[in-house]
Amino acid sequence: MALLTDAPSHSAAPGRRSGRLSPGVRYALRRTLTAISTLVFVVLFNFFLFRVMPGDPIGLYTRGRNVDADQIRALREALDKPLIQQLFEYLKNPFSQGVDSVKYSQPVWDVIGPRVWPTLLLVGSATVIATVVGVWLGIRSGWRRGGRFDTVATNVTLVLYSMPEFWFGMIMLIVFAVGVGPIPGIFPIGGLSTPGVDTSSPAGWLDVAFHLVLPVTTLAVIYLAEYSLIMRASIIEETSQDYLQTARAKGLMDKRVRQRHAVPNALLPTMTLVFLNLGFVVGGAITIEYVFSIDGLGSLTVDALQGPDVPLLQALFLLFSAAVIFANLVADLMYGLLDPRVRT
């Protein structure tokens, strides 16, 4: 996509330097500006999106509770400012600490803060593992297309890919946390750490890692296929290229042709996918978070939708959009480094 952008303007004024900036830097600036303008759009859209949602959060949270009408009115007043005033206050600082979640009665970013790292840990490590293993599987499968390894790997990953996350998660939970027949239930059923264990100590890290084994494995196995199949496809595409023929003709070993020539070129599409997915890491994995009782951003979003807790939802959506936009920007910039063709 980036290949097509304003290349003609250069040919229109040959010999004239359009500025002191090198093409690489200009490319980076352009990408960054695009990202920023997208973010501004998202902030605005975000604001109006949640203003058209129905619901009376205060009424919901006070139902069945001993709060008198005056108090409810007072709570509601905080939310019932004129739209323009709300927009202005929101635009002044979308990341402001001053906005309180309705449900948690705390600044929204304080609510979100402690839930970021469980999600990053869970989805982040699953993505990393899935990428590494998936790319490796893809390379091996694609290099010897139709071979026994390819047949087995492709079929297995496809089966895993098509399984519903929550179902696979529950199977994992029942087999490895509860225990079936001779298999003892050794892993914990839920949570991120054992209460009372200091997670800042090495023993605590281990405890967290132990709690993460099942959810991360589940997610990684499901994510795997995506990377493996894309990598396989691009390796297959590269194998038919002339330059590989040349490399082989030079007498290079098969392994070397693969590792030094085919893989770096085939990695580009996978790279894009990896960075795009890293943007979505922040969004969490709602079903897996529910099955394994991990209190991350995914389950927070579901909770916030009940009510709805507008300020909290607004902040969450802003965070998710910002993460995707940022990941896209990084992908674009990385692409510029990896593939000089896109810079001009």
Partner: protein
């Protein structure tokens, strides 16, 4: 070329593995050190773990509103009076005794003497006066307590053991002030601005300062809350050293965790999970009497608090005779059996029988008798039409919308509305069922856009709040062009009822007030804005092989935890294993004793090591491959 390559690869992998195991081996050693600082004299602390599916919303008693938050508050902070475990009668709390002045204008509480907060500071009547005055003066502080403090003019502590509260009008609530008394020396440093965001979460280094049986030592949002026994609690330090509330995101996980022993107690279980826990070794289940009821509610004529009609409710339901007749058409026992799986009892009035002294057992109860329902409908002028659906004299069909909730526990609402639809069809009433989220339903009810719905309430020991949901003043109201729901969801409005409501709210004589409350229940039972379908049980299960000594509230079959009070936490104790004085960790696991942290950590460590070693090995191999240019191709041969 190949052989050396493979060796380097293996070496690299080995190096990574060794590094990993090195970390692992130092890990367990330090874990053991920290968990048992003085292994020679004391055993590991007794930990009682409660599993729940909802986190607290805040640990600050001025902020938290979730039911589970109140469990934490009452463990940490005393109240002037308490609800007795046996029957919810008023019992001494921080106040030993109390008296109302002859003119009903002042209440004098005698505070226990010689008490201290958990940090050693003295606890006196001044702390209580400080707490009440803070609420009276603070706008934000009133939010959670206005129903108790609206009537209070001022709070004074003439000496360390006397608290005097001055009130505007006589009120029975003065004996039941569920206001958590806070330590002045801590909270005076948190001003009215800071209090809104004050978290009040204890840490291992600085636990919250309280005076209840437990204080908070750690909270990890969405994961767990740790509470530690308070040695200075005025009824004595509890036998169990630590109570942990652990949060699971779904009911199945809760059930499995109890079976496995990850938790010792589970509350508010769904019927199917509860069934799966029955007759399991080491587990005792209890279908506990509870204070909740469900109802089929009618739109008795939606209007604002000023009387302006709103909404699109079917006007036929304004007819009391129609609503009464429908009461005979509902088979409540089948609802209890099929919807609750037997975990409950047939409903009658809006104060559940669990509150034995307040509940009214109607003299002539409405039972399941469809023939009688038909006779009553005929008598009221609703004749069966050609298509089997009844019509009134003007030809208006008895055709109503019935709204149920999609998010009810164990899908109870879905099941209930289907049964109700069948029962009403059987007597010639057409029903159009629609399911929606509680959020949507709240809004729709508030605007009066319904005919009937299925929902429920949890009733407090003091009846004032529940009774107030039927007053004219608590119908919806309009503010800035928008209609907001208030407490009333049937839009029942009866001046005679309002008068009684006013009367009971200023009657301090218990017997006299009870009589009025029963009269109001009878009035509602006759007028039928609700058909109370059932009183549901609280399904609890716990590891009786580990803990014992719980106290039911009320006796003999009420809930063991999440009570009005901390009776179980104060009285529970570990089951003493008939084991040698110093059991080894291995034996401890075998006997299912209570020192589970060490045993689970051991397992955790072993498996953690295995998994990490595997990961490290895999990673090492991968690294070795990637770096090695002369990678052997033999493993790829087909």
């Amino acid at each position: 070329m190949r052989r050396p390559a493979r060796t380097t690869r293996l070496l690299a992998a080995l190096a990574v593995t060794t590094l990993a195991t090195g970390v692992l081996l130092t890990g367990p050693a330090s874990a053991d050190d920290s968990s048992s600082p003085t292994p020679a004299t004391s055993s590991a602390p007794t930990v009682f773990t409660v599993g729940m599916t909802e986190d607290i919303d805040s640990a600050n008693p001025f902020t938290g509103i979730a039911a589970v938050s109140y469990e934490i508050f009452q463990m940490e902070y005393p109240t002037l009076t308490e609800y007795a475990a046996s029957d919810f009668s008023t019992a001494p709390g921080l106040a030993e005794s109390w008296t109302e002045s002859a003119d009903h204008k002042t209440w004098t509480y005698k505070i226990r003497s010689g008490l201290t907060w958990s940090d050693g500071q003295p606890l006196t009547a001044h702390d209580a006066a400080y707490t009440f005055n803070r609420i009276l003066k603070g706008k934000y502080e009133q939010t959670n307590y206005s129903s108790y403090t609206d009537n209070i003019v001022k709070a004074v502590a003439p000496d360390d053991t006397t608290l005097v509260l001055t009130v505007k009008q006589p009120s029975p609530i003065m004996e039941k002030l569920a206001v958590y008394i806070l330590p002045e020396h801590i909270w005076k440093n948190i001003d009215e601005k800071a209090v809104k965001s004050y978290k009040n979460e204890g840490t291992p280094d600085s636990p919250t300062v309280g005076a209840g049986p437990y204080v908070m030592v750690e909270r990890r949002v969405g994961q767990f809350i740790r509470m530690q026994a308070n040695p200075s609690f005025f009824r004595g330090k509890p036998a169990v050293d630590e109570v942990v509330f652990k949060i699971y995101k779904n009911q199945d996980a809760l059930g499995q965790a109890l079976k496995k022993g990850e938790i010792d107690f589970a509350d508010s279980l769904e019927a199917n999970v509860f069934k799966s826990l029955q007759n399991q070794p080491g587990i005792t289940t209890l279908s506990a009497t509870y204070s909740g009821f469900n109802e089929l509610a009618f739109n008795t004529g939606a209007a604002l608090d000023n009387g302006t009609p709103i909404g699109d409710g079917n006007p036929l339901l304004k007819d009391k005779k129609l609503r009464q007749a429908l009461g005979w058409a509902i088979d409540r026992q089948t609802l209890v059996d099929k919807v609750l799986g037997g975990g409950g009892s047939v409903g009658s009035t809006i104060i559940p029988p669990m509150y034995a002294s307040l509940h009214l057992d109607p003299a002539d109860p409405v039972t399941y008798d469809p023939e009688k329902a038909k006779t009553l409908l005929d008598a009221a002028g609703y004749k069966v039409g050609p298509d089997g659906i009844r019509t009134d004299a003007n030809g208006n069909r008895l055709e109503f919308r019935l709204f149920g909730r999609t998010d009810s526990s164990g899908n109870a609402s879905q099941k209930a509305v289907q049964f109700i639809k069948g029962y009403l069809n059987a007597v010639g009433v057409a029903v159009d069922v629609k399911m929606m989220s509680s959020d949507n339903l709240t809004t729709i009810i508030g605007e009066g856009n319904f005919d009937m719905f299925e929902w429920g309430w949890v009733v407090e020991p003091d009846p004032n709040y529940q009774l107030s949901t039927f007053t004219c003043a608590n119908r919806s109201y309009k503010d800035g062009g928008t209609i907001y729901a208030n407490l009333s969801d049937s839009f029942y409005c009866n001046p005679a009822y309002d008068k009684l409501f006013q009367q009971q709210s200023v009657t301090t004589d218990v017997a006299a007030r009870t009589a009025i409350v029963k009269q109001m229940q009878q009035m509602l039972y006759d007028d039928s804005p609700y058909i109370v379908t059932y009183y549901y049980d609280n399904l609890e299960a716990y590891r009786s092989d580990r803990f014992t000594g719980f106290v039911n509230q009320p006796s003999p079959d009420g809930s063991l935890l999440f009570q009005y009070g901390t009776w179980s936490y104060e009285n529970m104790k570990p089951v003493v294993a008939s084991a040698p004085a110093s059991p080894t960790p291995g034996q401890t696991i075998a006997q299912g004793d209570v020192v589970q942290p060490t045993s689970s950590t051991n397992w955790a460590l072993i498996i953690g090591i295995v998994v990490l070693v595997l990961l490290a090995l895999g990673g090492g191999v991968w690294l070795g491959r990637g770096r090695n240019r002369d990678f052997a191709a033999d493993d790829d041969r087909e």
